[in-house]
């Protein structure tokens, strides 16, 4: 975990990014602004005015941070979190699918890893395909999956729309997150040294005892590291799963819908919200990790 000492550098870098962002806004919004001056026959605008104008356009190409944060504020603090206008509402829709997908994906990842570590046949037949599975552009397939999954759930099994969409999103989410968990867990479950395994053998320990008393505890650090990657992937999966697929709520739907009507500020505020969510999720996994380590008596870093 990062200590407090990292706060200053992070804030400095963030400040640098903000400066870049404002400069970028001048460059990107400038041409349109000049166009607007030309149309309105305005000439000789002072540079400061020009800058201020590019930073406060109605429909900017690149909205400025203060515009984005105003939008964020308007759509979180000023509206009830239960109405579609609220970004929190959408964040929750995305988050719930993310969490479901993450739990599903991690569970699957751990299960696969356990099978792979315990059976050479599984190892040989699954491992290459697990790697290959990640070369399939799942994001490109998302519409197909959501539509197929959705149709199968609603059509064949009669699941109502919302849960069906939720399940489909969770599946994409799980598909993206299981891979890092499997790879990390296989590494982790294989991390006990020979001597530690030999020790268990001298006790004539059963496979279950070796697993719970040795393999599992030694795999935990690997598990948490890969879960941090996995949870971020889950979020991407959930957002993508609700983007081009007729979803009506969630950050992905918000992003896309903003773009149909040229609402760049809305797009960016949804993007920022997604990043905040990613940060929160990764930090949350980190907290759980710390908690577990303390209980396991790990050496403080």
């Amino acid at each position: 975990m990062r200590g407090r000492s990292d706060l200053l550098p992070i804030l400095t870098v963030l400040a640098g990014l903000l400066v870049l962002w404002y400069l970028g806004a001048i460059g990107l919004n400038g041409p349109v602004q000049n166009d607007m001056y030309r149309r309105a026959d305005v000439v000789g605008v002072p540079f400061t005015q020009f800058v201020a104008d590019t930073w406060n356009q109605q429909r900017p190409v690149l909205p400025t941070p203060h515009q984005v944060f105003a939008e964020l504020w308007n759509t979180t603090a000023l509206v009830a979190p239960t109405v579609p206008r609220s970004l929190l509402f959408h964040a929750w829709v995305t988050l719930s699918a993310t969490l479901a997908g993450f739990v599903l994906g991690s569970g699957l990842g751990i299960l696969l890893a356990v099978m792979i570590v315990h059976s050479e046949a599984m190892n040989r037949s699954l491992m290459p395909w697990i790697v290959a599975s990640q070369t399939i552009p799942i994001l490109a397939l998302a519409p197909l999956i959501v539509v197929i999954g959705f149709n199968v759930f609603t059509g064949t099994f009669g699941v109502p729309t919302d849960p069906a969409r939720f399940i489909s999103k969770a599946i994409i989410s799980a598909y993206l997150s299981f891979f890092p968990v499997t790879v990390g867990m296989v590494k982790g479950l294989r991390s006990p040294e020979d001597i530690q395994l030999d020790l268990m053998r001298t006790y004539n320990a059963s496979a279950a005892q070796v697993f719970w008393k040795l393999r599992w505890p030694s795999a935990l650090p690997f598990l948490f590291t890969s879960m941090k990657v996995g949870v971020a992937a889950s979020l991407v999966g959930a957002i993508v799963g609700e983007m081009p697929t007729g979803a009506v709520s969630g950050l992905g739907a918000r992003l896309l819908n903003g773009s149909y009507y040229g609402q760049t500020t809305q797009i960016w505020s949804a993007l920022i919200m997604a990043s905040i969510l990613a940060a929160v999720l990764v930090v949350a996994v980190g907290l759980v990790e710390r908690l577990v380590y303390v209980r396991m008596g790990a050496r403080p870093a």
């Binding site: 349109v32 149309r39 579609p84 519409p143 539509v147 149709n151 081009p244 697929t245 009507y261």
Partner: protein
Amino acid sequence: QDSVVLQLKWVAQGQFAGYYVAQAKGFYEEEGLNVEIKPGGPDIAPEQVIAGGGADVITTWMAAGLAARERGVPLVNIAQPFKNSGLLLTCRKDMGVETTEDFPGKTLGVWFFGNEYPFYAWMAKLGYSTEGGADGVEVLKQAFNVDPLIQGQAACISTMTYNEYGQVLRAGLSEDELTVFNYRDEGVGMLEDGLYVLEENLDDPAFVDKMTRFVRASMKGWAYTAENPEEAAQIVLDNDMTGAMMLEDQVYQVGEINKLVDGSTGALDPADYQQTVDTLLSAVSPDNPAITKEPEGAFTTVVTDGL
């Protein structure tokens, strides 16, 4: 109450105001229907949804509907609330497009995903290659916004009268800076936003009756929309679960949509159907295999006859 699932071609917006109004105003309920309206999106193929059992009835463009029919999804048009088409090719005069003769060598933005058939038919009619080069046109797959035109990356882009065209205007390009081609005026207009069901269901009289009631209520919704555009826009807004829409956009959209629906009883005019089919068949090519032969039984009037 009978339940009906309607899959839209696009997101909840003024384009589908009639259905939302019919639902909000209880017209469906009056007909003993419980209608669920599923919004679509750029990568939702309603044809696929209905094939998978996810909907009872869908709205789609006729070209896409016929293409799906040829690929084994037996869709049948049961009603056509949209009399006119809203598809435009919008060009910038300052990039040198005033007439269709100016197209060669230019870059044109086109929507794909089943929306490209009218464009290819038109180019075939004009005799322009779509592979680029000096006497051909350069085709771009255009995303869901009007940036390429504003930024001058394309000389022309696809727009709908009721949405993107308005965005172009709002972005500051005025009407006299633009050349607008209406597909209908170019003789390649195709029917948009009809209602389609699976052929086998029509064998069931109960289903036909259900659809009759559905279309009747929907047309009532469209009529109400024509009378009360502002209220209809508000109803659409209430159904937008993304919370992304602005009322002003939707008022504009409903206004434009009303022009397209104007004059329709809901029944499909066989002449319009034939024009769409002829246009498609005139443009058959390996790149554009919408349909390759005259479709059979692709529309029926059993539903609208009962109105």
